[in-house]
């Protein structure tokens, strides 16, 4: 008799109708090119703004590409991320999880002429600002402050460029700087331009 209860029928009917509507509206949900590529720059920003809402930041190098897929989709449900944010963060993490390469030799110096041709500020904003902040003081906990007179920028250009290109683990920090800041597309010249910008802006 209970199944004929009006309230029960209303609840079940409402749920069934909702699921049907959702199903009809989701014909494009199964992407043919899974895992669908997102945007690296948006992903680094979304990563730095979302993960720390609840927990300490996990380093991109903690997990393999496939492990990040399930982890980020789990976080999509848990943190209320949109599908686009999920794809962007996944793209950033998969591009940034290369381990630090200590075996790589010293980096060839880049000429001042080449650096002058590139806009280090723009490249910094797109690739570095999500973690290091617009003011260079660091956005994530444990991040070094570029404006500290006795801090990171007391190192030579060669040392810093080497760390940027090959990745670096600061003593006392729980998260390493990924090789090339996580963006393998950046050339040595562009990274040198970023370093030049960091010196100009933050070591005044």
């Amino acid at each position: 008799m209970k199944i004929l209860n009006r309230k029960y029928l209303l609840t079940v009917g409402l749920l069934g109708f909702s699921i049907m509507v959702l199903g009809l509206g989701s014909s494009v949900s199964l992407a043919s090119d899974f895992p669908e590529a997102g945007d690296f720059v948006r992903g680094s920003k979304a990563w730095s703004e979302n993960c720390m809402r609840c927990h300490s930041m996990r380093s991109p190098s903690d997990l393999r590409d496939d492990q990040w897929v399930t982890t980020v989709f789990h976080m999509r449900v848990r943190a209320g991320l949109t599908g686009q944010e999920t794809r962007d963060i996944l793209t950033f993490l998969q591009a940034s999880n290369a381990p630090i390469d200590n075996s790589a030799g010293d980096v060839e110096p880049v000429s001042k002429e080449k650096i002058a041709q590139l806009s280090g500020g723009k490249i910094y904003q797109r690739n570095c600002m999500a973690c290091h902040g617009a003011n260079g003081k660091g956005v994530l906990p444990g991040m070094r402050d570029f404006t500290d007179k006795t801090g990171r920028l007391t190192k030579t250009d060669a040392q810093l460029l080497n760390n940027i290109i090959n990745g670096f683990q600061s003593p006392g920090s729980s998260m390493p700087m990924p090789p090339r800041g996580g963006n393998a597309q950046l050339s040595n010249d562009e990274l040198a331009a970023i370093l030049s910008y960091i010196r100009q802006e933050f070591s005044k």
Binding site: G25, A31, E36, H55, D65, D66, S174
Partner: protein
């Protein structure tokens, strides 16, 4: 001069030896070249390696995450003991970007030495579109933030849950039903939401001084709806700018007494469905290495004139505020939390100051030391100050 050159010129024999040596060197070189891979060979190998990467190319991904913790507690009225060996594996089975099965088990060691196993949650998540995920099964309650996002030991910055946010507290723990959740941008700001319908909680009565009264609420995702009354609820979160989130939660429905604390459940009959209403608010603010968060939950259960356990209604209420700071350039973190939990029973009421120091070996492996200043009913466990140590690992 000419004679000297003639004298220094090699003999035919020497030239023949040199020629033979050159021939051997050339043969060795040919062998080396034959064994060397060409650019095309490398490209072919790269392609094969890419195809052989079963994880990346597979439509179905299988992954295990989770967390575990061990600890030590020393309370005022009890001897110190090692405790809380918890292991909570989370299994993920994902088919492309369409569906994911998530299940968290909880293995823990009881005081008696037995191993307890619980299903913390088990859901099938259907990624309907970019803004909606339909979650079915047993899920963590979306009311507030602590239960659904902060309770894992590698995330919680203190070894204990705030009073009222654990089992049998003011905040619901889990629910069995259907939930729709996701996020969307609105007028330039980010939002997230969760709405659900579920079996709802069950109530526990207590027989004292010749009459029944409400003892507690069990809101732990029951697998059946014994009173046939569903509960509806959800949470809406707003992120006006990066670093700040404000959330509002509510749920409503009916709940019925189904058991008697330390009594005979068989005595219960014709229990009336009572009003069940929860409201809550939470916030989370991040500024560099500083984090401030807080949460408020009130659960109100109505009265009932029907059944054996007919009794007046009751209210459970709790709130906490927690501040933490990670020292720049170090692995040390300081935490302070204040909680005020009010219930219909003096023995459950508690106010607590919890002060803690954490050492982050890595961001997912944490050592926590804390001291709790507890104020409850004198002579009761809720009044005992405690020292707690915990090692937590999220994987």
């Amino acid at each position: 001069m000419l004679n000297n050159i003639a004298i220094a010129a090699p003999s035919v024999e020497e030239l023949a030896q040199r020629l033979e040596k050159m021939q051997i060197d050339m043969d060795n070189l040919k062998k080396q070249l034959a064994n060397r891979a060409t650019k095309q060979d490398i490209q072919l190998v790269e392609k094969k390696v890419q195809k052989a990467n079963e994880w990346r190319d597979s439509d179905t991904l299988v992954h295990m995450a989770g967390y575990a913790d061990v600890g030590y507690t020393d309370a005022q009225s009890e001897d110190g003991s090692f405790n809380s060996a918890n292991f909570s594996p989370i299994f993920h089975f994902q088919y492309r970007d369409l569906v994911m099965l998530e299940a968290e088990l909880e293995f823990s060691t009881a005081d008696s030495g037995e191993t307890n196993v619980d299903l913390e949650y088990l859901t099938i998540d259907w990624f309907v579109n970019d803004y909606m995920t339909l979650v079915g099964g047993k899920f963590l309650s979306p009311v507030g933030q602590f239960r659904q996002n902060l309770h894992p030991s590698w995330i919680n910055k203190l070894p204990s849950a705030p009073p009222g946010f654990g089992h049998d507290g003011a905040a619901p723990v889990s629910e069995t039903g259907l939930q729709l959740r996701g996020g969307f941008p609105f007028a330039g700001i980010r939002t997230n939401y969760a709405v659900y319908v579920g079996n709802g909680p069950e109530l526990v009565a207590e027989f004292e001084d010749g009459e029944y009264e409400l003892e507690g609420i069990e809101a732990e995702g029951f697998g059946s709806d014994r009173d046939g009354e569903k509960v509806y609820g959800g949470r809406f979160g707003i992120l006006p700018f990066a670093g700040l989130e404000v959330g509002f939660s509510a749920s409503t429905g009916k709940a019925t007494v189904t058991s008697v604390e330390d009594g005979d459940d068989g005595l219960l009959s014709n229990e009336g469905a009572r009003d069940y209403d929860v409201k809550g608010a939470d916030f989370n603010w991040l500024l560099g290495s500083f984090n401030l968060r807080g949460e408020y939950v009130e659960t109100k259960v109505g009265s009932s004139n029907a059944g054996t356990a007919a009794s007046p209604g009751a209210v459970w209420e709790t709130w906490y505020t927690q501040g933490s700071y990670r020292f720049v350039g170090s692995k040390w973190e300081a935490v302070a939390r204040y909680t005020d939990f009010d219930s219909p029973h003096l023995s459950q009421d508690q106010t607590q100051w919890a002060l803690g120091t954490n050492y982050l070996f890595t961001n997912n492996f944490i050592g926590k030391f804390s001291y709790e200043f507890n104020d409850g009913l004198s002579g009761n466990a809720s009044d005992d100050d405690r020292f707690l140590f915990q090692m937590a690992y999220g994987f």
